[in-house]
């Protein structure tokens, strides 16, 4: 195997995969996108100047790959083809809760659902900051944003999540 691939896989694969999974909420798609990240990385590795850290560079590519996939998904064809399960002639749920989360406490399941209410930027920041545990500075570097933009986006995202969580918990409480 390629030595660059080996090294990157060893150091970052699970992080990048997890980021993509939380972004697209679909295991198969996350697997494809993780591969796409490697393809872009291996092509561009010689251009990597070391201006940013390897980790934030990789996350910035993963973020672009995820955003590109959202853009592609917006096409009506994909929407129909992917959402329609031809074998059962039924619209299937694109985002079933993954086993790892379904087995956990309800709160985690709710958070997983509530992520859908965030904008793409907000979701990226939440995943990078809390789930991947990147610092504000690292997140800003990966997104080529100012740190203050990261902070505001994080702030707004938490507000959205809190509101949606509150509603979900109240609904459950009333059952």
């Amino acid at each position: 195997m390629n030595s660059i691939f080996d090294e990157l896989y060893e150091k970052y694969h699970q992080d990048v995969f997890q980021f993509l999974f939380y972004m697209v909420k679909n295991r198969e798609q996350a697997e494809d996108l993780a591969q796409e990240v490697y393809i872009r990385v291996l092509k561009a590795y010689k251009n990597f100047e070391g201006k940013s850290s390897e980790k934030t560079w990789l996350f910035s590519i993963a973020r672009n790959v995820a955003i590109d996939s959202f853009r592609k998904q917006k096409g009506w064809k994909q929407r129909i083809i992917e959402k329609f399960d031809w074998s059962t002639q039924q619209v299937k749920d694109m985002h079933p809760i993954p086993e790892e989360i379904a087995m956990q406490r309800e709160e985690y399941q709710y958070i997983y659902q509530c992520l859908d209410h965030c904008t793409i930027d907000q979701r990226i920041v939440i995943i990078m900051r809390y789930i991947q545990e990147l610092s504000i500075a690292e997140t800003a570097e990966a997104l080529s944003w100012t740190e203050s933009k990261v902070k505001t986006t994080q702030h707004r995202a938490l507000k959205v999540l809190k509101k949606e969580m509150q509603q979900l918990l109240e609904k459950e409480g009333n059952r």
Binding site: N2, H13, R71, Y108, I126, K149, L169
Partner: protein
């Protein structure tokens, strides 16, 4: 039900389960190498396929549009031949009726070229700006929105149905809250993290921010913020903005200074360029201003690569610019050998010229030496009114 605290939420987020990829790295590497190998081939097959399809489509469409009449002629002819061979009375009857129809078609031939023009106008409107005729009872609000890189500031004009003009600010705030800048390929900027209030008597917009407001870091942030406020003053037709922090302190801290107020200034004499994001076209003024239209057009011949701004077509073919101050109009003469194609990019380039002219304070444009009559909705042989505002968007 107890309220969720920020700390609680953050704790849950940190504890979210780890999601792992269970594939063997060897399999992943194999998949990647396969893709790396097959890539170059794919990249040219699809575009050339698309090109072929597009050429075919254009051929079919233009054949129908231009040759509508002659198609009828040949159909008529072949029908006649068939009829001659078969010699059937019923067919002859049919033929004569077809012939009659064909004749009326021929009679209308003069009109039919006109018809083609109308079809052209109706087929697709690739204009981006707001024109007087689009307005109806709607009101235009223009907002300054940064692109996703924060490099360009794009004036985006919202058409808002309004009955009550005194309530402009709340309509504008509603619009700010409901629009999705990212869907438009731009940076998420609105609603502003500030309390806005209008004081009609002193023609003032009061802007109050928290001490930890997000507009204080970086000079770009400051430029964007000031632009956003300027554009608000223009949209709300107010003369000045006064800033406060935490409702009591005068002024607002920005990266370079403390700003207490700004007065309305309209950016003038700006060149407009094409800017594409997510395949959506925008017309964007560059921050430099020029003293004459000629100089602005001269500058517009070259792309501004640092800002991803593309030079409009046609400007490099302008041979002369004449200004009629009394009529507030500009006559633009193209080189004689100019070739103009009716494409969306040409339409948007014409808009860039119109908006530049508008930025210099003129109202009408007349083009000389245009080899075709129409580009999109623009009748090139007639005087064209400049748009009301750039980059039209509607919100639900």
């Amino acid at each position: 039900m107890k309220k969720i605290s920020d700390e609680q939420l953050e704790e849950w987020l940190r504890e979210m389960p780890k999601l792992k990829d269970h594939r063997d790295p060897h399999d992943i590497y194999e998949n990647i190498s396969k893709k790396l190998e097959e890539r170059p081939r794919k990249t040219w097959i699809i575009p050339s396929f698309a090109t072929a399809a597009a050429v075919l489509l254009v051929a079919i469409l233009s054949f129908n549009l231009f040759d509508g009449a002659s198609v009828n002629h040949s159909a008529d002819k072949s029908l006649k031949e068939e009829a001659a061979i078969e010699q059937k009375t019923s067919l002859q009857k049919e033929e004569s009726s077809v012939e009659n129809e064909a004749r009326t078609d021929v009679g209308n031939e003069e009109n039919s070229t006109e018809m083609n023009d109308i079809t052209f106008q109706a087929t697709e409107d690739s204009t981006t700006a707001v024109y007087a005729e689009d307005l109806g009872a709607m009101q235009v609000f223009t907002l300054a929105i940064p692109d996703s890189e924060g490099q360009n500031i794009i004036p985006v004009s919202l058409l808002v149905e309004t009955t009550d003009l005194s309530d402009k600010l709340s309509r504008l705030e509603e619009a700010m809250a409901s629009m999705d800048e990212e869907e438009w390929g731009l940076g998420d900027y609105y609603p502003l993290e500030a309390d806005l209030a209008v004081d009609e008597a002193s023609s003032t917009l009061n802007v109050d921010v928290f001490a930890n407001h997000p507009y204080q870091f970086g000079s770009t942030t400051q430029v964007i913020f000031e632009n956003a406020i300027q554009q608000l003053l223009n949209s709300l037709q107010l003369n000045q903005a006064i800033f406060t922090t935490n409702k009591i302190e005068k002024g607002i801290t920005l990266s370079n200074d403390v700003l207490t107020s700004i007065t309305k200034t309209e950016p003038r004499n700006r060149p407009f360029y094409l800017f594409y994001t997510n395949d959506i076209p925008y017309l964007v003024p560059y921050s430099e201003s020029y003293s004459t239209i000629e100089e602005a057009f001269e500058a517009m011949k070259t792309n501004i690569d640092t800002h991803n701004l593309r030079a409009p077509l046609l400007v490099d073919q302008i041979s002369e610019v004449a200004i009629d101050e009394t009529n507030k109009s500009v006559v633009i003469t193209f080189n004689k050998e100019i070739n103009i194609e009716d494409t969306p990019e040409t339409t948007q380039s014409i808009e860039a010229i119109l908006l530049t002219v508008k930025s210099f304070g003129y109202e009408k444009v007349k083009f000389n030496n245009a080899p075709i009559d129409y580009v999109g909705r623009f009748a090139l042989q007639e005087e064209i009114q400049v748009p009301i505002a750039a980059n039209k968007k509607s919100i639900d």
